[in-house]
Amino acid sequence: MFSFTKEQQVFEISGVTIGGQPGMYPTVVFGGVFFKGEPDFDDAKRHIQTVLDISKHTGTPFIPDFFIRKVEFIQPIISFIEKVIPRKYPFSIDIIEPSIKVETLIHLAEKKLLSRTIYNSIHIGITKEEIEVLQNNTPAMAIVVAFNPKNKSPDGKIEVLETGAYLTERGLLEIAYNLDIEKILVDTAALAPGENSGAAIAAIPVIKEEYGLPTGCAIHNVVEKSRWLNDFPLAKKTVDVASNINIPLFGGDYAIFGPIENAGLVIPLIAWQDILVSEYAENYFGITPVASHPRRKLLK
């Protein structure tokens, strides 16, 4: 359990706060929605409602992370967000294809949803067109992924943030700041076993001390790629959920997990870990948790 010398930034988006010294704010969890197949809106609505209730119970902020995999899904998913997500609540959009990213941004701007949008993500694959569209359709917050295919260590991750590692013309942080995105979350880019998977966790305190920015990752991706766990289905599920505690334990601010169906396991687990961190952080570093922190909500 850590405390940082560097001043830690705290960002707020539509009522959800993220960042700061470990033990002050609860770890934020992002849960993936519409990850596979055709979007099932009824199912998603049911899950999101359940998860928001669990989140309210523990104090662990939950942000739905909407995968948009095809152009034809953009409109229906944005309509779903408008109808189902509470009006002053944030959400993130998780898109791989640059052309779908661009079109989604334009739609979100038309619907005046950008102030609640977390853009997932800016990375070394950012295109000129994407940058141009982001300039005029700027989301309130963005996740910047520190993926460096050449150097997967914490140093390599810092290199892409700082200089772009010759993969982009500028460092990814500079690109984001030049777009007037001031609320930046750093994603330490969890990679498969064999690809220095542990670096995503080790990089959390390194990056927080370097930049003071809220930092986290999707560590469950490492579990998904641990094929040997397929021989142990119960353990695989347990490890998938439990992997997330690495993030608050190493001082991180948010965990991206998936799919949303796991929220009933992930959120109490994260809340439990937050309590553990908070007790130590308050005792040794004098960090008082905010009123919404699981330690204050659940331990009475």
Binding site: K70, E97, K150, P154, L167, P205
Partner: protein, 187 residues
């Protein structure tokens, strides 16, 4: 045996070491016949492709790479692999003409890519559903002999770049006190 021929770990199955065909599976539920040398799934347009190249040139018996299934959305890994074979990489290590989001080859030397281009004929069966088995059988039966040059086995060894005197430190950039206070090293 698999480890000798295919030094890069990944999601693959090694079958017949003398087989001339490797099969890349994209979005498809299909199990190739045991006569192929190796088959496996390709997901990403960077590390995934690097592994395919490394594991292909490590076995000179492999002369064909069959790509089958629908391409991976966003990553466009199948099309990016085709682009690498056709065009190679530019000075920034980006695959020339690749449509994927992050098509960078960072862990292979130019020599390895050139060898891949020369040793392998790509058979693009993306979108094809009916004829995969028969095409693989034809390729296997009419296969040319081994590439004729010895294999190239590339192993990535983790680099030890720093010697830490402070055993509590997690990384060379930071120092962590026994209580858990983090500060930048040397400040």
């Amino acid at each position: 045996m698999a480890e000798d021929y295919y030094p890069w770990g990944g999601e693959f199955t090694a079958c017949s070491p003398k087989g001339s065909v490797g099969v890349v599976l994209l979005n498809i539920q299909y199990t190739p016949p045991q006569s192929v040398a190796i088959y496996g799934r390709l997901k990403t347009e960077n590390i995934g492709i690097e592994k395919i190249v490394a594991n292909t040139i490590s076995n000179p018996n492999i002369r064909f790479l069959v790509i089958c299934g629908d391409d991976i959305r966003g990553h466009r890994s199948g099309s990016s692999l085709l682009a690498l074979h056709k065009n190679g990489i530019d000075s920034n290590h980006r695959i020339i003409g690749a449509p994927g989001a992050i098509p960078y080859i960072e862990n292979l030397e130019e020599e390895a890519i050139k060898r891949f281009q020369k040793q392998i004929t790509i058979v693009d069966l993306m979108g094809e559903k009916e004829k995969i088995d028969s095409i693989i059988a034809d390729l296997t039966n009419g296969a040319p002999s081994s590439y004729g040059e010895s294999y190239i086995a590339i192993r990535i060894k983790p680099k030890m770049t720093v010697s830490l005197t402070d055993k509590r430190a997690l990384h060379s950039k930071i120092v962590i006190s026994y209580l858990g206070k983090v500060k930048k090293r040397g400040v």
